[in-house]
Symmetry: C2
Subunit: 362 residues, 2 copies
């Protein structure tokens, strides 16, 4: 139940290979020389079209910067917008890979608790009132799955506007929503150009592609593109024309539709197996979005072991089930196992859950 692993067996590598080959058999000059530090123009257009339609992001292709993924997007935003040694609110619990790049860039990450509406503005203001940036996952909190409420979004936007701070919106997992209407991106609500929106293709296509994007505020796009050029000149063109065609010819939308059905079925299968085998050990609630579920350990289970001991036992039985407490940057921590289901075929989910139950019982 590894996190962030899509079902790769269903990725249309035949289509992908055809698009790659078509682009490179007789490449145009912008493909072999460089199409500029922001990336291949047709890909930037395709991403902007997609984000406007699917996520209500307010942008043109001039604001799109193709990057090597979320890490480079974050480094770029921090380099472009912050002075050294500024404070940055980050979600606690949250993506633990954030602190490294922030510290490397000379910034000071400040963990801020997440409540049932998302990152707590009050706690942020209490811990670091002078923070210049907040990095948040409003669509689907990582790893808890909370959706940030509209009122919290507006409050954060007001804070950013009034204190001239920046909101970095990591629109993690926004492609995979199984029911209900998604809240559109926070970026689209922003009237003060304080939101930098980032996304990645790791979970929609495949992780090793290493491609993501950043949507710069319109008035900062040129500056951010210049700074990107000093980081590593421009992104490799190898995959960009294939990805642009993957969008333009409808393969991207079709692949997401297929995967959404597949993942919804896998989540249902995991929930059914949890009801049957994990009763009294974990509470597993459905999630309208994302690629994993949170299995909260019950008190009787916690009396025997904490979540890290549970994860170790599971690993000993050949089952990956990361401990939630590892995603906390400071106490108090909550304890659960995270069950990524996107990469696990339905036929093996029940037996894997049964084995997991044995680990939690024994």
């Amino acid at each position: 139940f590894a996190l962030g692993t899509p079902e790769i067996e269903r990725f249309p590598f035949d289509v992908w290979t055809r698009l790659l080959a078509r682009a490179w058999r007789r490449p145009s000059v912008d493909l072999w020389r460089s199409d500029g530090p922001a990336g291949h123009r047709p890909l930037r257009v395709a991403i902007a079209d997609y984000l406007r339609a699917a996520r209500a992001v307010d942008c043109t292709s001039d604001q799109i910067i193709v990057t090597s993924g979320a890490q480079q997007s974050i480094s770029l935003a921090v380099n472009a917008l912050l002075d050294p040694a500024e404070k940055v609110w980050i979600e606690n619990p949250g993506y633990t890979g954030l602190q490294g790049p922030l510290i490397a860039a000379g910034q000071v990450p400040v963990p801020v608790p997440v409540d049932d509406q998302g990152l707590s503005l009050n706690e942020g203001l209490r811990r670091a009132p002078d923070a210049r940036m907040a990095i948040v996952t409003p669509s689907h909190h990582y790893p808890l799955g909370t959706v940030m409420s509209l009122s919290r979004r507006l409050a954060l936007l007001d804070w950013a506007k009034d204190s001239k701070a920046w909101l970095l919106e990591d629109d993690y997992d926004s492609e995979y929503r199984y029911s209900g209407r998604p809240l559109s991106a926070m970026q689209g609500l922003d009237r003060s150009a304080r939101v930098i929106y980032i996304g990645s293709f790791s979970k929609v296509l495949f992780p090793a592609l290493r491609m993501g994007y950043l949507v710069a505020p319109a008035d900062l796009a040129e500056k951010m593109i210049r700074i990107r050029a000093t980081m590593d000149e421009h992104p490799s063109t190898t995959a960009q024309p294939a990805l642009a065609a993957f969008f333009a010819e409808g393969h991207f939308a079709a692949h997401i539709r297929r995967m959404r059905r597949l993942y919804a079925a896998r989540q249902a299968c995991l929930l059914a197996a949890a009801r049957e085998h994990l009763n009294g050990l974990c509470q597993v609630a459905p999630d309208e979005a994302g690629l994993h579920l949170v299995a909260w350990l019950t008190d009787s289970c916690l009396a025997r072991m904490d979540d890290q001991a549970a994860a170790r036992r599971a690993a000993g039985a050949g089952i990956v089930a990361p401990a939630l407490s590892r995603f906390y940057l400071e106490p108090p921590v909550k304890q659960a196992l995270l069950l990524g289901y996107a990469g696990v075929p339905e036929e093996i989910i029940p037996s894997a859950v049964r084995r997991l139950a044995q680990c939690l019982t024994a």
Copy 2:
């Protein structure tokens, strides 16, 4: 006569496309998930084999880290080896794109003059005796074309050993050598593991590939690979298997052989045209290596215009001929035009040189 532009019309895109398609039609798990932060193993093996055979670099594939090019290689070396605000000797004149990443990484670049043997150790010691790194192009100085002498190489290696400093060897243009025996890489002379060797595929394959590599000292390879993972996790796998096969099946060596003949003929053609048309305006000497020549402006020409005025006039006539003085970071500067010939077909060299002569005369 743009610099650093290879003849792309002759790159075997048919072979390249076939190798790309072969790798991606049914990709192995290491291709779609990740083959680790140092890059795709078969490519690391191919690069190590090539460097040992062609450049006498002392390395195993475990020391090879695939990067997005020289800029990322330099950022990685600096992040891994230096504390903030350390001094770094850089060549003057030299690659002007170096200062940005160094300053961004919080280091202090110190320009050090280049004499006829290479970077001046005495001047370096005079200007910044406490420098912790020197970045040099020993095989073929950029942009003067000087080859660093053996005694200077040994002196720099001694300095690095005694002062526990680092030498970053940018083995720029080492693939294109037309006559004489190349000095092998400085890295191969190093007995104290103080040399970090970097190279790039921009000029051998095509610039927009954005792929390069770094050879870490054996005892630092693991640490540098960990730091690379914090920078952007790992390089995209898209082009890596194709490049590994391009090496393994002999296409890389064959392409360099073909290009070497082509570029040698273009240099000869440029020299003949310069003798005919630039007499009294510039002195152009042959160069045993590289992809451009230095056209030194004569005193009589300099009495009319400096090299930047000459470059502007040439640009007005549709001819790219960068001014050498722009590559100096501080005075005194020398004045010349740089004539990149690798991307210019023989049939248009004579007329372009004639037009250039008119610009320098009028």
